[in-house]
């Protein structure tokens, strides 16, 4: 029987009829508001030493020497580490498959490929002592020529990435098109910047047994990182991460500083705590690379798309490959018969870029949705109407039917709520005093990915329930929705369910990335809880001690009571007591039947091998959203304020609409920052990040964010996932920046194709 057939709720996406779909408050909320949620560095580990890292001050070259003497002589110092005295680890690939060079790996660089690279570390009794001693480490560099960014002429055109997409004959179609829009769109380096910086406590509890307290979006993947580096069994590494202070893609792998802390702890045989400083975070993890995309769109005069020709590129590191997949929205959003997409990467002296909320999708939509607005202006067609005319029946790239695509509903709901029909399309036509008012819109999308998951469900003697998984909750709501899933399947109240997450000793889970975790863990917990319910019912029917024995052919469980069809029954805890059961404990997984060996299991949960991106699925699975935005631009100063946002979203069934809505709004807020504020600025001489702090790299503040109205137009989509949800977490950032840029054009008549939009662009 499939999970879909077993599903017990069929209502609207936000039905609220039972525990599932109900807008419960966050289960971990009280702990968080009282300051009692324990984040990684807050675990109490006795005798921990403090480690402070030292980063390179040149952007390319090599380390000639490290003079450790002054630091070693500094009070409280236990160890000063660099590449020459560090314990050597076994090389292993990073998240993206890049291998370090050489037979041995040390996280401390001797060859410098980017400014801010880890070169040394100091371990001392106190943080203050380690910090002071770190300033005494004298590193002599031999500097080489730096290619700081892709703007450096010597960066060159880069290297093609084998992800060409081709159909039809775009050249011929463009040549014949009545209207062609051609433009280049650019986004700067953008950084994840969770408010909790990276860091960890590494504790070797025995020579071959390591416990790591580290914020993690992927407990099992990171445990595997450490096991592989140190050559110890996977089971001997415990990663603990019950709360994560934000990740947005940046906390899914152990990084060089993670290895440094674990090495120091191993060499000193003492626990070591390492907190990456805020400025250091800008080079400890790369964030979204700078991107640029050239688009040519051909259309008929009445707004039918004929061809899209797309050429995208992103910066990568000199010594590693990261691809920001810029053609992903371009190829599936609109019905177009002739298409070409190319992608290049341009190596420069930067830390390896990485995943940042909606990688690929987000900048891809910035280019496509800006260009669609330009086309609408050129044609004199309303931008919503232009999109309606090009709504595809099937996924144009794969030809597969959509599992669901309620974008037309989203247009209708959001434009109605926004009052779009009152828009005067002429740029600069709407004003309020000295403020120019602009109304713009754009769409976003995110694919639905799926991976297997595991869960354990326990029914305890007191009738309470526990759900166990090494999945994580970084504010995404996992603690809450998994309790709702178990409560729904078991027939108990959600408040009776406790969820334990974030520990590699618990049943395994894949990466919390690609907006996949909620759907796959809901399926795993649903399946496990149903099995537990069956066992409870069997206990009631068959156990000699059960008061319900031989009273019925089947039993029902609802509101924590187990009953016959006639209503005769007792509380679950009473049945447990009557039958002498201390516990019912079951574990289930959603692994494919063919991949259930322990090797398969390890591989599927510690690599991305198990992630299904759609190749083997007969339908095309995506979430969608339509953003409608009002901006106010000061005519004299060019300042842009977002004054109103209405977004309608199709993310399938919402397991908890309150928490999903917070994710939607969070994406919109991050999109406001992306459009107007965020920019990593690099010194062209040496590759140093000049904006490496939260004042110079500006993220949206409370004062930058207006009232936001969100409307869910989703319905349960059981072709997308077993319980009917689609992608939530990364959806709403996609399309937000172009909606703002389009609104700015409407206000000012100025088309800004390079983010962020600055006041200097507008005056």
């Amino acid at each position: 029987m499939s999970l879909t057939e077993l599903n017990t709720k069929r209502g609207d996406a936000t039905d609220g009829a039972g525990p599932l779909g109900n807008a419960l408050s966050r289960a971990d909320g009280p702990a968080k508001v009282k300051g009692q949620a324990t984040y990684a560095l807050e675990h109490k580990v006795d005798d921990a030493l403090h480690c402070v890292i030292v980063q390179s001050t040149v952007g390319a070259g090599r380390v000639v020497s490290v003079d450790r003497a002054a630091a070693e002589a500094s009070p409280g110092v236990h160890l000063v580490l660099d590449s020459t005295n560090s314990l050597k680890l076994r090389p292993q690939p990073d998240f993206f498959g890049n291998w370090p060079t050489g037979e041995e790996y040390t996280p401390f660089a001797s060859d410098i490929t980017h400014n801010g690279q880890l070169v040394a570390a100091v371990v001392a009794d106190t943080l203050e002592e380690a910090r002071a001693a770190a300033r005494l480490v004298r590193v002599e560099f031999e500097a080489a020529t730096v290619v700081a960014t892709r703007d450096d002429p010597s960066a060159g055109p880069g290297n093609p990435v084998p992800m060409d997409k081709d159909w039809g004959d775009p050249d011929a179609a463009l040549a014949a098109a009545e209207v062609v829009i051609e433009a280049t769109y650019e986004t700067p380096r953008e950084y994840n910047l969770p408010i909790e910086p990276h860091g960890l406590i590494a504790h070797w509890e025995a020579d071959d047994r390591l416990t790591v307290y580290e914020p993690s979006q992927w407990i099992d993947g990171m445990a595997n990182n450490y096991a592989a580096w140190f050559g110890v069994p996977f089971e001997n590494v415990r990663v603990v991460s019950p709360f994560i202070g934000g990740g947005f893609g940046s906390k899914a792998q152990a990084l060089p500083h993670s290895a440094a802390a674990a090495i120091a702890a191993r060499m000193l045989r003492r626990p070591v705590k390492l907190a990456v400083t805020r400025p250091q975070t800008f080079t400890a993890y790369g964030g979204r690379p700078a991107t640029w995309q050239q688009l040519r769109i051909g259309a008929t005069r009445d707004g039918k798309l004929l061809a899209i020709d797309h050429d995208g590129a992103n910066e990568t590191a000199a010594d590693g490959t990261f691809v920001e997949t810029l053609g992903v929205v371009t190829s599936m959003m609109y019905d177009v018969a002739n298409f070409r997409s190319r992608q290049r990467i341009v190596p420069v002296n930067t830390v390896l870029p990485g995943a940042f909320r909606a990688p690929g999708k987000n900048p891809s939509a910035f280019a496509l949705e800006s260009a669609m607005d330009e086309l609408a202006v050129e044609l004199g067609i309303d931008p919503v109407e232009l999109r309606r005319r090009n709504e595809p029946e099937v996924d144009p790239e794969t030809g597969k039917p959509w599992s669901s695509r309620r974008l037309l509903d989203a247009y209708a709901a959001a434009s109605e709520a926004f009052g779009w029909s009152r828009r005067d399309p002429r740029p600069g036509s709407m004003r309020d005093g000295h403020e120019l008012i602009g109304w713009g819109m754009a769409v976003g999308t995110h694919p639905v990915y799926s991976s297997p998951g595991e869960a354990t469900v326990r029914i305890l003697a007191d009738g309470s329930v526990e759900v166990l998984s090494s999945a994580i909750d970084m504010g995404t709501g996992t603690y809450t929705i998994l309790a709702q899933a178990a409560a729904d399947a078991l027939g108990v109240r959600a408040e009776r369910v406790t969820v334990r997450l974030g520990d590699s000793r618990l049943p395994r889970a894949p990466v919390a990335g690609g907006s996949q975790l909620a759907n796959l863990m809901m399926a795993a917990v649903h399946k496990t809880a149903l099995a537990a319910r069956d066992e409870l019912i069997a206990l009631g029917l068959n156990h000699p001690g059960s008061p319900l024995r031989d009273r019925a052919n089947t039993l029902f469980i609802s509101e924590g009571r187990i009953s016959t069809p006639r209503g005769e029954g007792l509380a679950v805890e009473e049945l447990m007591t009557a039958t002498g059961r201390e516990i019912i404990e079951l574990s289930r997984d959603t692994l494919p039947e063919a991949d259930r060996s322990s090797d398969d299991r390890l591989k599927l949960f510690t690599t991305v091998a198990g992630m299904e991106r759609g190749t083997n699925i007969p339908v095309s699975r995506h979430s969608f959203c339509a953003h409608f935005v009002e901006v106010r631009v000061d005519e004299d100063f060019g300042t842009v304020r977002v004054s109103r946002v209405v977004t309608a979203l199709d993310a399938g069934r919402l397991y908890n609409p309150k928490l999903a809505d917070s994710q939607f709004k969070g994406g919109i807020v991050m999109g406001i920052g992306m459009a107007l504020l965020e920019e990593g600025v690099t010194d062209p001489r040496n590759g140093r990040i000049l904006s490496a702090n939260l004042a110079d790299y500006r993220i949206a503040t409370n004062a930058d964010v207006p009232h936001i109205e969100t409307i869910s137009v989703g319905k349960p989509d059981y072709d997308a996932t077993p319980l009917g949800g689609k992608a939530v977490g990364e959806l709403a950032i996609v399309g937000m920046a172009p909606a703002i840029a389009n609104a700015v054009f409407h206000a000012t008549g100025k088309r800004i194709r390079r983010l962020p939009i600055r006041l200097s662009n507008l005056i």
């Binding site: 408050s25 966050r26 971990d28 909320g29 009280p30 702990a31 968080k32 508001v33 009282k34 300051g35 009692q36 324990t38 984040y39 807050e42 109490k44 009070p75 106190t126 943080l127 203050e128 002071a132 994840n192 969770p194 408010i195 909790e196 910086p197 709360f243 994560i244 202070g245 934000g246 947005f248 907190a275 400083t277 805020r278 970084m474 504010g475 995404t476 709501g477 309150k658 928490l659 809505d661 917070s662 994710q663 709004k665 969070g666 994406g667 919109i668 807020v669 991050m670 702090n693 939260l694 004042a695 993220i699 949206a700 503040t701 409370n702 004062a703 930058d704 964010v705 009232h707 936001i708």
Partner: protein
């Protein structure tokens, strides 16, 4: 070598005797020496607001305050906000009800700022709340719900 210094800090109504280097910040004294980890370190340079505590009733960034500067003054942290029986402060309760956070890491600082913002009389309108809460960054983007929570709590506290 830095010399150690004895100090007495009054935190959440309790006296704490500490012997620390004078360069230890109030934030590190709380987190590393007193086990009061509810106050968060987001930037350690006065830019994010995650370490907001009250000193003599006013909001202060604990990362820009040396522990010795707090001697003889009353420090209140997030751990000191709930009532003795564990009942949530109205601002804490409103943050839960309005889902005014996701990851929760900036939350203690947001709440300490919100309590002061209301007390200062700066919660009169959504615009005012946004302005007076703008020193506390939230990367999850919970700002609209933070405004709702502060507005709601301000009515209850008044």
């Amino acid at each position: 070598m830095a010399t150690l210094r004895s100090m007495e800090l009054e935190i959440n109504g309790r006296q704490h005797a500490l012997t620390l280097e004078p360069r230890v910040t109030l934030l590190d004294a709380l987190r590393e020496h007193l086990g009061l980890t509810g106050t968060k370190k987001g930037c350690d340079q006065g830019q994010c607001g995650a370490c907001t505590v009250h000193v003599d009733g006013e909001r202060v960034l604990a990362c820009l305050t040396l522990a010795v500067q707090a001697e003889g003054r009353k420090v209140t942290t997030i751990e000191g906000l709930a009532q003795a029986d564990g009942a949530l402060h109205p601002v804490q309760a409103a943050f839960v009800e309005e889902d005014a956070f996701q990851c929760g890491y900036c939350t203690p600082g947001q709440i300490m700022s919100a309590v002061a913002c209301i007390r200062e009389g700066h919660a009169g309108s959504d615009e005012e709340i946004r302005e007076y809460m703008a020193g506390n960054l939230c990367r999850c983007g919970a700002y609209p719900n933070i405004v709702s929570a502060v507005r709601k709590a301000a009515k209850e506290v008044a």
